[in-house]
């Protein structure tokens, strides 16, 4: 990777990306794609009964404020964070998908403009009764447009995601269209659509509890409406979820065993199914209760539960999706340590340090093994591991060698790291040469008992190794 390495040695870099991305997906699915159609239905009912209109407006207020702040910024944050952490891969993706992202961006701009029009002109007063009616029907039309555009935004993103998961395509045809034709596209989009609609229902139901009076007519009507909405979409979500699972390509499934949580959960399939069943079941239970006994409702906070269950399910699927991409960031082309598959012969022969512009050691010598090893760690392992924080290497090796408290064996570590990609599919092969591997082991054995965080350039700044090879630096 020929960029200075940003690294968070406690939280881990992946965690930062994951938090921002998942937050964004939750808001996009739960408050935009899933919620706008509900608000729209309520507004249409409101043409006859103004209490519906008022409720719809309140719900939309929440959606508007959150999507235009946290939603929009986490969207940008996905770019910020992933380009900080994996500049090589995100840079490559942007170069290949520039056109697609440009289209996606225009759709997104339209979506933002529509939601502003839809929300900010909701209460617009017109001069006469007749004008008011016409104005309102235009407003409803804006609602339709907004619902469609939020869905289209999602549809394009799913194409890009699907592309990244499908090995081979990147190498064969680097065009965006294959994102749509790849076998996971339709199932994934279908699943997300229904999941979003169900989640939107749960969110609307929860907000309704806060925005309506317990004994009001509108409470009764809206609870009925929203529970029917949720009942209608749960079966579809379930079916689409299994469909999606079934089409995830063979090669990717191998990794799924660790995708879910940690390695102990080898029986991922069980868990996946359970998460799906329990969360949807839980939602059904609470919503069913509200449906049957609209007057006798549990405390308001109970209605956060379906929302949280749906968010949990959504987040869980995102995690699985992210994980099954390992060890690649771009299937078959680039590993998640951001080296290209085709770089390997060169790097394993000459070493990764020699071909990195920003390291303090250009090659391993007898005197710099610890520091060189740290650089190797930062380049080869730090995208996924920390030294002592989340997914810590000290902890991993300790567990592997049975937490004996004795120094780890260098030869065992060497054998492990040289072959780890074979038994641990989620990790790419070690990219460097043998000297670098030895240095890495010296470093790791060093931090086993004497932990010092491996800081990224955001703290340490850069220091260049004195290069013997003059072409590596220059005097401009």
């Amino acid at each position: 990777m020929d960029f200075p390495i940003f690294h968070l040695d406690f939280f881990g870099d992946r965690l930062m990306i994951a938090v921002i991305a998942i937050l964004h997906v939750l808001i996009n699915h739960g408050l935009a794609v899933g919620l706008v159609p509900i608000v729209l239905c309520m507004e249409i009912k409101g043409l006859k009964d103004p209490t519906w209109d008022r409720l719809a407006y309140k719900i939309l207020t929440v959606a508007f404020i959150i999507t235009t702040t946290v939603g929009a910024l986490t969207g940008v944050g996905i770019w910020f964070s992933s380009s900080l952490i994996n500049p090589y891969s995100i840079g490559s993706l942007i170069r290949v998908f520039y056109g697609a992202w440009f289209v996606e961006w225009t759709v997104f701009v339209t979506e933002v403009i529509l939601i502003m029009i839809y929300y900010l002109t909701w209460k617009k007063k017109h001069k006469t009764e007749a004008h008011q009616l016409v104005g309102k029907s235009y407003h409803v039309l804006t609602g339709y447009a907004l619902a469609i555009f939020s869905w289209v935004t999602m549809a394009i993103i799913v194409a890009i995601l699907g592309f990244m998961m499908d090995p081979g395509n990147w190498n064969n045809d680097r065009t965006f269209l294959s994102g749509f034709t790849n076998p996971i596209y339709v199932p994934q989009l279908t699943f997300r659509t229904f999941l979003a609609l169900t989640t939107g229902g749960a969110v609307a139901l929860c907000l309704t509890m806060f925005f309506t009076d317990k004994n009001s007519e509108i409470r009764k009507k809206s609870v009925r409406f929203l529970s029917k909405w949720i009942f209608a979409f749960i079966p579809f979500t379930l079916i689409a979820g299994f469909w999606y699972y079934l089409v995830i390509p063979e090669g990717m499934l191998k990794n799924m065993s660790v995708a879910v949580g940690t390695q102990q959960f080898q029986n991922y399939y069980e868990i996946l199914r359970q998460v799906l069943m329990y969360s949807l079941g839980g939602v059904l239970l609470i919503v069913g209760f509200a449906f049957l006994y609209p007057r006798f409702t549990p405390p308001k906070w109970a209605f956060f539960i379906p929302v949280l269950l749906m968010f949990g399910l959504l987040g869980y699927f995102e995690r699985v999706r992210e994980f099954i991409r390992k060890p690649y960031v771009i299937g078959g082309y680039m590993y998640s340590n951001t080296f290209r598959v085709e770089d390997y012969p060169l790097l394993q022969r000459d070493g990764i340090l020699k071909h990195s512009a920003f390291v303090s050691t250009k090659e391993v010598t007898a005197h710099n093994q610890y520091e060189a090893g740290k650089n190797v760690f930062l380049i080869a392992c730090s995208r996924c591991h920390t030294t002592g924080g989340v997914n810590s290497l000290v902890e991993k090796f300790d567990n592997m060698y049975g937490n004996t408290g004795k120094p780890w064996g260098a030869s065992a570590m060497k054998a492990y790291i040289s072959n780890m990609h074979l038994s641990r599919y989620y990790m790419p092969p070690f990219p460097g040469n043998e000297k670098e591997l030895d240095a890495l082991i010296v470093y790791l054995k060093g931090i086993q008992f004497n932990s010092a965080p491996a800081e990224g350039v955001q703290n340490t700044g850069l220091e260049l190794g004195t290069a013997k090879d003059q072409s590596l630096t220059s005097n401009p």
Partner: protein, 452 residues
Amino acid sequence: MNILANIFSACLLLVQQTPVPKDLPLPLPLPEELLVVLLVVSFLVHILFVNLMFGGALLTLFFEALGYVKKNEDYDKLSLEIAKTTTVNKSMAVVMGVAPLLTINTLYTLYFYTANALTGLMWIMIIPLVIVAFLLLYAHKYTYEALRHNKPLHLAILALAVGLFLFIPLIFLTNINLMIQPDKWLMVKGFVSALGLPNVWPRYFHFIMASLGVTGLFLFWWFSRRAYDFEGTFNTLKLYDLKKRFYSITFGASVAQFLIGPIVLLTLPEKGLSWHMILVIVTGASISIPALVYIWKEINGEPAKIGRRFPWIATCLSFTVIFMGYGRHLYRATSLETHQKLVKQKTEEYRLAVEEARKEALSPQKDTTQVAVLSPGQVVYENNCKACHALDQTLVGPSFKEAAAIYKNDKASLMAWIKKPGKKREGAAMPAQTQLNEKELGDVADWILTLK
């Protein structure tokens, strides 16, 4: 001061070294010139909305405070009217930022990402800081009624947002500066030290003045729209006075630019300067002069005629902005020219090296020796067990010679263990090898049992 001194001494030591990394080995998605046009245009649109958001928030604060001090309801209303435009402009600023972000990522991949990483923590803080600022803006806008009797609190909410808005541009400016100065990359240690780069602060004030200038003009137009019911909204404020005020803001800010502008130019590292660029900037600045003269005349002219020349003024100033945007690009292009050449060369060298190494690795001799020796069981071993087992040494698990001794003549139990291992020794447990099918299990077991 300390920081500056540090940077200076570091400078002396390190002028010799400028890192030359290699670029991504992928072609640009569009012709370079087209990307440049997209970058300049989309950036101007983005920064226009940023200016309006920032200037709007500032003026909202100003007028609300004025209303509070003067006990004049009208200023309060005025500030609310401005606040309403700000919350829209801020959303536009964000979405419009995505296009230049992607384009700069594409055109200046190396430079942009390197600058981001070097100031990484603060760079990523942009996201939460902007979220908080936006939420505060909403909190302020939707509590005009609720906090009518607690103005200090209401003002404080907005002041906090404005404070954040004052800070955030510094992060962007630092990055934009750092990115075009590869020779400074070795000197910065995080955001604070990068703030000391020579050009950051002049540009910052340049940006603030631009925001006020643009916002003044925008609000002039906003309140004089025919559709806007001015008399119906305000009791004592006169539209004419307000127009004069907004014109004055633009005028003052633009005149200030004539002082700040030269400082910005002088503090720019020389490497990027070129006559071409200076010509563009000076032309841009001169186009604004007739606009300023018109504004001055309108402010001091007949009240009934104010605004007549507004389209002219706006057009001239727009051209100024376009020229400045283009000049800015020229500066960047010139600064990076030599470095980009070196990078290109480096990238090509690397590509050749990769190709050569791949050929070497694929050379036929190597392949045949490897393929010929491996039995099917050994292939399974290489691919599944080798990370934890060696032939005659304990790694994570026991050596296979040991295993061969344990399972002598008992292939079935060996296969059973591999499929569903138990726990015998101290230390880690072995994960079940469920990925293997019956044949592979048999092969590997056979192979283990041949070991002695």
